[in-house]
Subunit: 583 residues, 2 copies
């Protein structure tokens, strides 16, 4: 037996007991005839005490063992003279009577403490050492807690966890597939699923009624920071429901998870149309923990002499409450922010309201005090406020102001990671224009149903058709998205047609689904949550990588195991494939 | 709103209520002015009643709708005159006041009832229709129930569900990998995991202490009947434990699952060494629901004149209690069974004990009554028993007799699928001989630790070294297997050396693990269960395919979606690979 207790559970009530512990040496402190070891395991840290006067032999042995070695000790629980209030086991220590090394450690490549000296790359390479740090371990344990909480909720609501295949069929639609050559079926390939979308729909057609799965998905996209080639989704589907039913069930899920994980209550989740979100926040995933909503000025400035405003498609601003004390320098930083190439604005107009209620602006030349006072009314700007205005092409200006709003909120401390403000964004457009390829693409995916009342304009004005699609937004992040699906062959064919599929392409790729619609398909819909992101936000973070046990780097490599790697010519031959030599 | 209730919940207490139901038309029965529809959903079947006298219009509409169409009805719950005792909702029916077709169905390609007329291939192609059959649906729901039960047990025992990567590194050891070409890392490949073995060990080295995952695994093997290229494993690992701890925890898991699923109690699970299992059952996964254990006759027959026995490495038999009434023809069937090419025995010797206690055998020429009476004692054969004896090369004879034992038990009805008789088989050999390649291979896997007391013979007699390895056997099936792992670099290197790895091969493939052992590795071990098989056995079956939502056929094809399939030249080029044309 390696232990009678873990390193996280001993306290005053065990004083006097002889116990056995096993764990890692986190740290040793030597003082003349005394030594102390912090012994660590998953559950906590317990202080081991060694005293020359009590047992010189054990003290000598203890001093020979390296940090991060795994040891087993026997000893007696004693009350500490100086208690440690931070440590759970801080009221006691162990007077060690015997010590044994189970596995000795070389000096680790970085310090395994909360403030590590290890850079990202080094910690990725030695991920198994980084996992020993409490904050990293706790992220994985939080993930486990959330997944169990999700399962408990969904199971108790009648959802069945049903596993769908990982070796499926490649479809050119959407993102790039990872493919898997088939040895048995020469020249043919499986694809790894980007999501179990069609399978969950087939499960509905098969009468399973309520499905869920916490499932790995794969996308071979060019990696941006914090995007992983494999990621995890909470994937759900229901039959005989409308949009309202789905929003209710999954509002319940989020409420349940936040309650179990943080003992917090969220109220009823507000709903906002896509149109409103874009108008008020310039963004389809607004962070509503703070206001600073958009105010359009076009009407007010249309007759001004200020050319930037006069010719702009959109003139729009926000009111940064209480920021009139921003210095010239601080305003310059904001201006540089909106002028960065990714946002590309030509400048930033500001108006300060001073302590006497008088406005002052960077465009005093073009707007007199009376006009600026009108702005004050529109922006609801009071003494001490700072109004920031951008102008230009609509989409670009919305994006820039939205980013500026987030940037300001971050620096004003308005984004408290432990405040959870979910929001449903609804009534998304069905289609969006892919200008590069001059075609329509599905905003959600090709299986999303259009709103019945918009069907009449589907040919005349497809871009204006709204979908039965919804996103769940949390603190400015999309954590889930879904839709009511098409369940009729005719409408599905129409949709593929709009998306530029020929009939034979549609049949070849999705014939099995369209056929299935002909044998009695229930109305159905669902949602999928990005599990990695959900967990990160629950952990008070927005970076997902730390919440994945063995993440890949930005080149899609696992630097710990060195994957991907070359494979043998034999293996390639067995699969009937060749690597094309580089030019 | 599509329904106020499901098709499985209405009873006498709802009589008089106006309700809405949605579902599939399972069947319609028309009688003059009356029609009845069995409306089906996941939860059950409710009878809908249509009466010309009550509403002729609704009756007419109902008669126009095809079987398997999806309809929505409104109506009133009424008590049935003739109650159906079999159906949960059999005490009531619905007097329908309005009917609406939500999705009309073509005639399905096979009958969607318990006794379907659909062959295997057709049902695979239209899996979404087969899923509508109650028995198929219930298999998937059983799977869901078991997975949740497993999770509840493991979580409450401190195990954390931690997701390991699917895109990993290919290693030539063991079965063939499925590989995934990397676009970003030209000429390199990921592999899909055959199991998360090395990752779970790294999690232990990372201090996670108790890990589990219900995880998909992949093996590109030539498919035998009922083997899938992707399969699901319950994968578990623990630190600071010995073999006994693991057996206790997972005995608890099986007890918990059988209790939750079948409300049955299993006693303490017996343990049997590999050696005993082979000697008494000729098999390392004995079905202990019945006896019929092996009895060796070598000693008794060594001086006989019967050449088949005299020269045999092993002479061994079983006592089929009460089978002395087997006819010549029945005995011929048994003889053909052991002579089939897969077993390859040259014949079967039998001895019957008649109602007066007199033995009679197929080898009366060589053994007199006195000698046969000795056999009776050895086999504990009494009036009415049938002793069956095989002789030949040891391994082959063990296998044949083991198969004969199972065959007999099956035909004698000794294998009650609802009786659960688990067994731990322990002390497996560390290595087995691969005669084809003249080398040792790991019987479990290369990370399994040898028994400390056998280390002294690891060089002189490696084949005799026992491993800290164990299998959990249920009703003659291996449902789980595991081991205490090696956690020292030196021993792991020794093991790779025994398995014929050069040092550089070992380093290239498993260097990350051996390095990890040098930074403080806890003693650890684990187990993995074949989830598909576990679920099938819990369902009273041994065929796993039906317990998988979307299984592949014996050519590793999904015939429903037609995968694998060819991919475009563009896709291949992006991945820098070519398909080698067939000669």
């Amino acid at each position: 037996m390696y232990r009678t207790h873990t390193c996280g559970e001993l306290g005053l009530s065990e004083v006097g007991q002889t116990i056995t512990l096993s764990g890692w040496i986190q740290r040793r402190r030597d003082f003349g005839s005394l030594s102390f070891i912090d012994l660590r395991d998953r559950y906590g840290i317990t202080q081991l005490a060694f005293n020359e006067g009590v047992d010189a032999q054990v003290l000598t042995e203890a001093r020979l063992i390296n940090r991060e070695s795994v040891i087993q000790i026997e000893g007696v629980v004693v009350e500490r003279e100086k208690k440690n209030k931070v440590l759970e086991t801080g009221e006691i220590e162990i007077r060690v009577t015997s010590i044994k090394t189970l596995s000795s450690a070389k000096t680790p490549p970085f310090t395994i403490e909360e403030n590590t000296d290890g850079g990202d790359d080094l910690r990725m390479k030695y991920r198994y050492l980084d996992l020993r740090r409490k904050s990293v371990r706790e992220k994985l344990l939080l993930r486990n807690k959330i997944s169990m909480s999700v399962r408990t909720y969904l199971n108790s609501n009648g959802f069945a966890d049903i596993e769908t295949p990982y070796l499926i069929k490649s479809t050119p639609e959407g993102a790039r597939d990872f493919v898997v050559p088939s040895r048995v079926n020469r020249g043919q390939f499986y694809a790894l699923p980007q999501s179990p979308q069609t399978f969950k729909q087939l499960l509905m057609i098969g009468g399973l009624d309520k499905y869920y799965q916490i499932v790995r998905c794969f996308r071979d996209e060019d990696l941006r920071a914090d995007r992983q080639p494999e990621f995890t989704q909470i994937d759900c589907e229901m039959s005989f429901i409308d949009q309202e039913d789905i929003l209710n069930v999954f509002e319940g899920l989020l409420r349940h998870v936040i309650r179990e994980v943080h003992s917090k209550e969220i109220g009823s989740i507000p709903k906002m149309t896509y149109k409103t979100a874009m108008k008020k926040y310039g963004n389809d995933k607004p962070d509503i923990r703070f206001n600073m909503t958009f105010v359009e000025l076009n009407e007010e400035v249309k007759d001004s002499d200020f050319p930037v405003f006069k010719n702009a498609e959109l003139v729009v601003g926000i009111n940064a409450k209480g920021c009139s004390n921003y210095s010239r320098k601080e305003l310059d930083v904001l201006t540089s922010f909106v002028k960065q190439p990714q946002l590309g604005m030509s400048g930033l107009v500001w108006m300060k309201v001073d302590e006497t209620g008088i406005p002052n602006s960077s465009v005093n030349k073009f707007f007199n005090e009376e006009e600026l006072k009108k702005w004050m009314t529109i922006f609801n700007a009071e003494k001490g406020d700072l109004v920031l205005v951008l102008a230009g092409e609509k989409a670009k200006t919305q994006k820039a102001l939205s980013e500026l709003r987030m940037y300001l909120a971050e620096s004003l401390g308005l984004r408290n990671p432990m405040e959870f403000a979910p929001l449903w964004v609804v009534d998304f457009p069905l289609l969006e224009r892919d200008e590069d390829n001059n075609r329509w693409v599905a905003m959600h995916h090709p299986f999303t149903s259009p709103k019945t009342e918009d069907l009449k304009i589907i040919d005349s004005d497809p871009g204006a058709v709204r979908a039965n699609a919804y996103d769940l937004v949390l603190n400015g992040n999309e954590i889930g998205g879904g839709s009511i699906r098409i369940h009729e062959k005719k409408l599905q064919s129409k949709m593929f047609d709009l998306l530029g599929f020929t009939e034979s392409e549609a049949n070849e790729q999705f014939g099995f689904l369209m056929n299935a619609f002909e044998y009695g398909a229930p109305p159905h819909g669902g949602i999928a949550f990005g599990f990695d992101r959900l967990v990160a936000i629950m952990g008070g973070d927005e970076v997902i990588r730390d919440y994945i046990a063995f993440p890949k780097n930005n080149s899609a490599r696992d630097v710990m195991i060195e994957a991907p790697s070359e494979i043998s010519t034999d293996q390639l031959e067995t699969l009937s494939i060749n690597v094309i030599p580089e030019d």
